[in-house]
Structure formats: C-alpha cells, structure tokens
C-alpha cells in the first residue's frame, strides 16, 4: 500500500467515525431527538460504541481471511474512537440522565448487571487507550503490550452483554451484535487452532513421561 493510499484510508476512517456524531448534532440542531431526547442520545451513542467496537474487532479476522495487511493498521484508530463514543455515552448517563446523583448511580452499578457490564467495559478501555501510543508499546515491550490488549475480548463480551441485559427480550438487535461477536471470535479461534496444529506438526512435543497425564 502506498503512502498516499494509507493517508486516504485513514482520512476515510476518521470521516466515517465522526459521521455518527455529526448525525447526532444535526438531529439536535433540527429538533429531531424524539420526545425523549436523553434516552435517544444515550441509545444512539451506545449503538455506535458497539458498532465501532465490533468493527475494531473485525480487523484481525479480516486480515486472516483476506491476507491483506492494511486492516490491522486501523485497529488503534478504531479502538480510540470506540473509547471516545463510550466516554460520551457514559457522560450522558452521568450528567444528563442522573445529574451526578452518585448514590443512585453507585447502587445501579452494583445492582444492575447491565450497568456492571457496561462499567467494566468502559473501565477496561482506559488502560488500552492509555497505552495506545508507539512509546507505550516500546516501554511495555511488545509481548506485554499484546497481553494487556487482549482485554479487548473481555470488553467485547461485556459490551454485547450490556446491551442484551438492558434490552427487553422482544428486541432482536442485541442478538445480532452477539452473533457478530461470536463470528469474529470464531474466525480468530479457527485460525489459532490451525496454527497451533501446524506448530505441533512442525516441532512435535516430547511425548509425556509414563505416569504423567491421565
């Protein structure tokens, strides 16, 4: 991929990631946030947080399936935008919905599984966002950095559960997000197993000593 193509790709991703926010601001300016604006804004930001999170999680499977390398270069940008939308989503809950009623929110975090899951996802995003720079990768060492960033899988699971647990059972959307997450993790799992099998063939482990194992 040429430098020019890389710049264009990044610019396109920036535009795509900012479009939902622009759409929301446009709706706000045109008085089109439904009769319950706070709920509308919360849901809008939550939906886009999940969509970006799953897009971010789709980059590695896309590379594995297609053989292209460029998707992986977008992970940081997509991850940071996910964190950006998650923070906005949380801020609306904090400021507009509960207006800093800490007691009520504290009780909700402990008592309501969907809020526990959402808060867990947001909290786990903080170290990932904080270590998103090249300097942080050098400081941590590639291996540790990679280990830390596997938290994205926990965040993904918490994110879709957050939505599933807050929505009524008759709402189909949370199941679609779960299906996409399962598919994306499934593709990774499939390639990992295949690689593990290849490695095992290439360098067979010594057979277990008699008496070890069952």
């Amino acid at each position: 991929m040429t430098r020019r193509a890389r710049v264009l790709l990044k610019a396109a991703v920036w535009a795509a990631c900012l479009a939902p926010l622009a759409g929301l601001l446009y709706r706000a300016a045109t008085g089109n946030l439904s009769a319950n604006p706070i709920s509308f804004i919360t849901n809008w930001l939550g939906d886009w947080t999940l969509r970006l999170l799953l897009t971010c999680l789709a980059m590695t499977p896309l590379r594995l399936v297609s053989g292209w390398s460029w998707p992986v270069t977008l992970r940081r940008l997509l991850g940071l935008f996910t964190f950006f939308y998650a923070t906005l989503h949380f801020s609306v809950w904090l400021v507009l919905d509960h207006f800093f009623n800490w007691r009520e929110m504290g009780a909700d975090i402990l008592k309501r599984p969907y809020i526990t899951a959402g808060m867990t996802a947001l909290t786990l995003m903080i170290p990932l966002a904080a270590t998103s720079t090249a300097a942080a990768v050098r400081k941590l060492g590639g291996r540790n950095w990679q280990r830390l960033h596997r938290l994205i899988y926990v965040i993904g699971v918490c994110g879709v559960l957050h939505y599933r647990w807050l929505a009524k059972k008759a709402i189909p959307d949370p199941y679609y997000y779960i299906a996409v997450l399962v598919l994306l993790l499934g593709i990774r799992g499939w390639f990992w197993t295949r690689r593990a099998a290849r490695l095992a063939v290439a360098s067979p482990r010594p057979s277990p000593q008699r008496g070890e194992g069952a």
């Binding site: 439904s34 009769a35 599984p113 807050l166 009524k168």
Partner: protein, 325 residues
C-alpha cells in the same frame, strides 16, 4: 358528537381518487406553508424526521373535573410519536410511521366468556353506550418515562355491566387484533424471532376492571384515538404500567382464572400480572423509584400507584406487592 354514525356514508361509497393520499394528508401543513416546506417535509422520511401526526376527527366529550391534574399536558405531537406498540415494531417511532396500515373501521369487539349476555359490539354502538368524558391521567411506562394525557372514554364497567358477568367471573382478558396486513410486526420472519406471542393479551382482576378509574378509551386530546395510540378502542388503567392498558381491542373475555398476559409470557420474572406502578419495587433490571416526564429535563419521583393510591390502594389490602408485582 361529530362522529358520523349509521348509514350516511360508507367507506366503499368513496372512490379511490377522492381520497387524499396518505402522504399528502400527513404533510398537509407543509402543503399549506408552501413548496419549500413541502419539499423539506417530503424529504422527512429519508432523513428520519418524525412525520407530522395526522389530526384525527374531533370527538366531543365533557371534561370530568374530578380527573383533572395540575401538571401540564404532554404535547400531542410527543404523545403520538413516542409509543410502544409492538404490533407495529419495537422502536418508539415505528407506530407513528406505520400507523396508516391499521384500519380502525369497520371494527367490532366480542365480549364473551363468563357472562349471561355475550355480545359482539360494533364500534359505533360502543361510542353510544355511555356518555363520553374527558379525563386527564398520568401515564407511567415501565421503562421509567411518563406522560400526562387527556383521554376520552367512559368507565369500562359500563360495558361490562351490559353483558352481565356471572358469579364465576373473576378476571377480564383483553385481546388485541391479530392481522399481519394491518400490524406489520406480526408478519412471520426470521428477523422477529424474539417477538411477543400474538395476540397481545392483557388482563385485570374483575374488581380492577370495574373500578371507576379504568377507562374504556376511544379518543384523546379532543380527537378520535390515533392509530398509533390504540385505535379504535383501548383500555387505560392509570395506576398500572402502560403495557397493562391493551390497545386496539377486538375481544374482552371474562374468566375464572388469571389470564396469561403477553409480557408475562415473554419474561415472567420481570412483568407480573399486577404490574402496579410502585416506586419501592424495582424492575429486576432497573430502578422504578424515579421517572422522566416527557418534556422535562430532570427526573421526578415516581408516586405509589402512579398517584392514585387514595382510589386504588384498598384493592390490594393485605397483599405482598413485592411478591405480587
């Protein structure tokens, strides 16, 4: 009464060319303010603007001062564009967007079960059954938002007395119309695997159904009930969460056993038979202590029995409302 009754004009007498197309009707305000406005509103569905609600036929009713509230009324535009009516779809704007698919006339309601005089009523007959009155009620959704709505109707007891419930009748079951042509979300498809079982059924204990607050409702805001609000008739049970107030009713059945209700079948641990508004009993997934009144910014505290405790608390004397939620 401004509703046309009897044999003056039949729908079939009107040629298709004489009927204003729905889109023009919905956009008639824009039509009046000129082409620029019309163009903007014509684009509305594409950019997702809420369609202007169709102003229905006026429905005259005497205001009942006993059911006035100091609170400001919810705007008509908000009460008709922010609805839960899963027969149209699961999103709040689906009912207003798809309301034109429902045909509220002709319509009849079968009232049967444990009654001495079962009868199928025509909607026009129901309109004449008792004097229509306007009552302003609080509406509290189980999702923790609320509205203030001027309904038009008469106590459900007036209808139930007509059919003379037998001594064995203990409950009343309401069923909403099933017709996938009129209610798009009732169409079978792989995308509504999660949907409710149709028909939507709801139920009340007979004493709740006969309570003077329980309103058989035919209109709101001085008009015939808009389709998205449950045309042509629904019940309104103001001390219970909104989903208890069944819409677009085609059957009312009196029973000896507690009827199965739609949301209870979908999630029994979340939606009990009683579903009285109660700030001290949380929904398993969220608090019911406060609510957001549509049109207001800050949450307000939810009132016991939605503010109707004086009238209805005695119905539940001695009951554990935590268990019988």
């Amino acid at each position: 009464m401004l509703i046309k009754r009897g044999g003056d004009v039949q729908g079939s007498d009107i040629g298709g060319s004489e009927i204003t197309p729905q889109a023009v009707y919905l956009n008639r305000r824009a039509f009046m303010v000129g082409t620029v406005g019309a163009a903007a509103l014509a684009l509305a569905p594409r950019v997702g603007l809420a369609a202007a609600p169709p102003a229905g036929q006026p429905l005259a009713a005497a205001r009942n001062a006993a059911y006035a509230l100091p609170d400001a009324l919810t705007k008509f535009n908000e009460a008709t564009t922010y609805n839960n009516f899963y027969e149209f779809g699961v999103n709040k704007d689906d009912p207003a967007r798809l309301a034109h698919t429902l045909k509220p006339r002709p319509w009849s309601v079968k009232v049967d079960g444990l009654v001495h005089k079962p009868k199928t009523f025509d909607i026009d007959e129901i309109l004449k059954l008792a004097p229509l009155e306007e009552r302003v009620y609080r509406l509290r959704c189980v999702e923790a938002w609320s509205m203030i709505i001027p309904w038009i109707g008469f106590p459900l007891s007036a209808l139930l007395k007509r059919v003379e419930p037998t001594g064995a009748a203990k409950f009343v079951e309401f069923s909403t119309l099933v017709d996938p042509q009129q209610f798009p979300a009732q169409k079978k498809s792989i995308f509504n695997f999660a949907s409710l079982d149709w028909p939507y059924t709801e139920g009340l204990r007979l004493d709740e159904a006969l309570h003077p607050l329980t309103l058989l409702t035919l209109g709101m805001y001085g008009q015939v009930l808009p389709n998205q609000n449950g045309a042509p008739l629904r019940v309104v049970v103001p001390w219970k969460y909104g989903f208890k107030s069944a819409k677009s009713i085609v059957r009312i059945r009196l029973t000896a056993d507690e009827p199965k209700t739609a949301w209870n079948k979908s999630a029994p641990q979340e939606y009990g038979f009683y579903s009285n508004v109660n700030p001290t009993v949380d929904h398993p997934r969220w608090s019911q202590a406060s609510e957001r009144r549509i049109g207001e910014f800050r949450r307000r505290e939810t009132l016991m029995f939605n503010g109707y405790a004086d009238q209805v608390a005695s119905l539940y004397a001695g009951m554990d409302l935590r268990k019988l939620y």
